[in-house]
């Protein structure tokens, strides 16, 4: 006998109607558009550009990583304070602490994803950490790697957009 879960059924129907689950504004603002095979070029639409599903979630994760607690007045606890590691020595212990902070923050603030793996590679010679997070987006059944880099020397945290989808 088949088991029917009504919530999932609703989601499935919603997806059929809209063909996406999550929709967020794209920043910077831009005009929406599609690539026209007929004209073989990008054709502008009439609306503001938006991000769907995985891109929308990626927006959220980027915001999470680049926001410090206290910066959002209405959600003062929101954010991930990776900046404090910029002034620490680059070693495995600190790398482990960074990893724990990332996993905890994602668990609290981004319920749409599950962290599968969080690899932190300390690179003392370059004064940097190479951070790869592999997250699963259960609703669309997709696993996504996210690459970031914490450059201690350059005092910067970079969210690499070149992450690929598997």
């Amino acid at each position: 006998m088949a088991i029917k879960i009504s919530n999932l059924q609703q989601i499935s129907e919603l997806y059929k109607q809209k063909s996406y689950y999550y929709k967020d504004l794209h920043l910077d603002f831009g005009q929406a558009g599609n690539y026209s095979t007929q004209y073989q070029q990008q054709v502008d639409g009439n609306d503001v550009r938006v991000d769907y599903d995985e891109s929308a979630i990626r927006n959220s994760l980027r915001n999470l990583f680049t926001t410090r607690p206290g910066q959002r007045f209405l959600f003062p606890r929101y954010g991930l304070d990776l900046d404090k590691y910029l002034f620490e020595t680059v070693n495995e212990i600190n790398g482990q602490m960074i990893g724990e902070a990332i996993v905890t923050a994602i668990r609290y603030f981004e319920p749409r994803v599950t962290v599968r793996k969080c690899n932190i590679i300390a690179m003392p010679e370059d004064n940097a950490y190479d951070i790869t997070i592999i997250v699963e987006i259960p609703i669309i059944n997709r696993v996504v790697p996210i690459n970031t880099s914490l450059d201690v020397k350059g005092k910067s945290f970079v969210f690499l957009e070149s992450s690929r989808t598997t």
Binding site: L27, A56, N59, Y78, E110
Partner: protein
């Protein structure tokens, strides 16, 4: 303005004013959810959520300033000192600053030190009492009639006031010669007495120091009048404004301005009775500029200044303690006083003009004041004495005031009935002669020409627990009466705790520092307050040496000067006469007059 909800938005059109950041954010999210175009507004990390936050918070900030500025720009609503002081500038009202405590004194000159002639204690000389300075704000002249005996200096005893604090000289200011030039006394975190700021100008053209006179405003001043206006700016600093050459003399380039101000020690400067006698050191004020100023301001022929050793041989005493200082006028006080001052236009004509002037300018030694016309005086005050069959002249305060202040033609008098400011536990009942002198002399220049300021002292009314025995009111037995509080059967409170709370209620109700003239004695309110004490079921007034009792509160009220002639029982609300002041007899021992009865 329409307030009906519009079709599009299920909100009142004016409901924007009630939003804060959170409620606006929730409303935006709800609207976006209803529209179903975007989904990520529900996830706090999304871009759209960040934008919603920015909009909501900006809106919240704007609404805050909108509310703040809309109320703070109104005379009736402004709460911030800076704003109300700017608003009342339209009415040309100058808020009153800090007023230091004052001290009335008596003094005697030691025999053999002085010759028989007139002497002057120069202005700003001071007496330190255990390190606390008290200064003279004017030159004090007295006459010594005999050189070989101890002389009570009646010319100044009880007639002049000492002001708590020491005079300081502000840095000298060299004028630029502008019209309406402003000199700021740039000393912060210092308590400056509002009424003791003296300004002297070294006029380059004549090479002399001249004292300038403080005026409320320049409008009535001649172009040559040596006057200044004094105001407190929004940073609580005093600004001295000089004339523009049309109203008030304009400073010339190169004129030098010297400002002397009294720096108070605040609450630490209060001293008790007799402190001057025990531990005082009189010191003559001196600095170089001051000496030059004094030489120019007071003609040499009038300079009979006491020497330092003579000053030290004047014995000072104070039978009452110093008054409590009055803090800088707050926003509410400004709001209350500004319209009165505007109405009066710095002239004292009506009763309210006099009352508001006295309350504002003498707040450091007065808590309440009522002003009576001659009709009121005879028809109410003197009538009171006639009603109780007493010759008013027999009441020493009436006689004293009449001799000291009234002129031979009584019908043009106005009578000031003032309650002196007392600290808790103080026994000062009437204004001291020096305080009356200060009030009378200060009003001289602004009062109506045809009126004379006289004084009438308040009639004190004592009140205490008491029960009438038949028709008899026995004031002598007043110490035997007490208040019984019946404890609720189920109450867990200790009797002592109930007693303490009841005593606190009565102490606060009859707080002598808050009593005003002609109050309504609110018997019902006191009864309600006592019955609302947790654990109190019933009140009873009883006599401890007999079995007499009265269910509820019963008081005796009497005039302590005439306890046999003016006495009554109070079991209801009662309004006192305008010149009557109520006090609870032996309030300090109220605890011993309350018992708690367990049922």
């Amino acid at each position: 303005m329409a307030t009906e909800p519009t079709y599009e938005f299920p909100l009142q059109t004016n409901s924007y004013a009630a939003f804060d950041a959170i409620s606006l954010r929730n409303l935006i999210i709800q609207r976006l959810n209803d529209q179903g175009i975007l989904t990520d507004q529900n996830y706090i990390g999304s871009n759209i959520a960040s934008i919603i936050d920015i909009i909501s918070f900006s809106f919240n900030t704007l609404i805050y300033y909108l509310n703040k500025t809309s109320t703070e720009s109104m005379f009736t609503e402004a709460q911030l000192y800076e704003n109300i002081s700017r608003i009342v500038k339209l009415l040309d009202y100058k808020p009153i600053g800090y007023q230091t405590s004052t001290l009335s004194f008596q003094c005697t000159a030691v025999a053999g030190i002085f010759e028989s002639r007139a002497y002057t204690i120069p202005r700003y000389s001071y007496i330190t009492v255990g390190g606390i300075p008290f200064s003279f704000n004017e030159d004090i002249t007295f006459t010594v009639p005999y050189s070989n005996r101890v002389i009570a200096l009646d010319d100044i005893s009880n007639r002049k006031l000492l002001f708590q604090g020491m005079f300081r000289e502000a840095p000298l200011y060299t004028a630029a010669g502008d019209a309406s030039e402003v000199v700021t006394i740039a000393v912060s975190n210092v308590l400056i007495d509002h009424f003791n700021i003296d300004v002297y100008v070294y006029e380059k053209k004549t090479s002399t120091w001249v004292q300038y006179k403080n005026v409320p405003n320049f409008y009535s001043e001649q172009s040559y009048s040596r006057t200044f206006e004094k105001k407190i700016n929004s940073n609580f600093l005093y600004e001295i404004v000089f004339g523009d050459g049309i109203n008030g003399r304009k400073l010339e380039a190169g004129d030098i301005v010297s400002v002397y101000f009294l720096q108070s020690s605040g609450e630490q400067g209060i001293i008790g009775p007799g402190a001057l006698r025990l531990n005082s050191v009189p010191i003559l004020y001196y600095n170089r500029t001051y000496a030059n100023i004094l030489n120019d301001v007071i003609p040499e022929t009038q300079q009979n200044s006491v020497t330092p050793s003579q000053f030290r041989n004047i014995i000072f005493n104070n039978v009452v303690g110093s008054t409590t200082p009055k803090d800088i006028e707050d926003a509410d006080s400004i709001r209350r006083n500004a319209p009165y001052v505007f109405k009066s236009q710095y002239r004292l004509v009506t009763q309210s003009d006099y009352e508001s002037y006295i309350k504002t300018n003498f707040a450091h030694f007065i808590t309440d004041v009522k002003v009576f016309t001659n009709w009121d005086y005879t028809g109410k005050y003197l009538k009171y004495f006639h009603d109780i069959n007493v010759n008013p002249g027999g009441f020493k305060q009436v006689l004293f005031n009449q001799i000291q202040y009234a002129d031979s033609c009584n019908f043009n008098n106005i009578y000031v009935c003032a309650v002196p400011k007392v600290s808790k536990g103080s026994s000062l009942k009437y204004l001291l002669p020096a305080q009356k002198e200060t009030i009378a002399s200060n009003m001289q220049s602004v009062k109506m020409l045809t009126t004379e300021v006289s004084f009438m002292d308040p009639i004190f009314k004592a009140i205490s627990f008491g029960i009438k025995n038949g028709d008899a009111i026995n004031i002598d037995a007043v110490d035997y009466f007490q208040l019984q509080l019946f404890k609720t059967i189920n109450s867990n409170r200790s009797p002592n705790s109930i007693k303490q709370e009841a005593a606190a209620v009565i102490r606060e109700f009859f707080n002598p520092t808050k009593m005003t003239l002609g109050i309504v004695f609110d018997y019902s309110a006191l009864t309600n307050q006592l019955l609302s004490i947790n654990g109190v079921d019933q009140l009873r007034t009883s006599r401890s040496d007999t079995e007499e009792y009265f269910n509820g509160l019963s008081f005796f009220m009497w005039n302590p000067s005439y306890p046999d002639l003016d006495k009554q029982t109070i079991v209801n609300n009662i309004t006192l006469k305008e010149f009557e002041l109520l006090y609870f007899n032996n309030l300090s021992t109220i605890d011993s007059r309350i018992t708690v009865v367990e049922q």
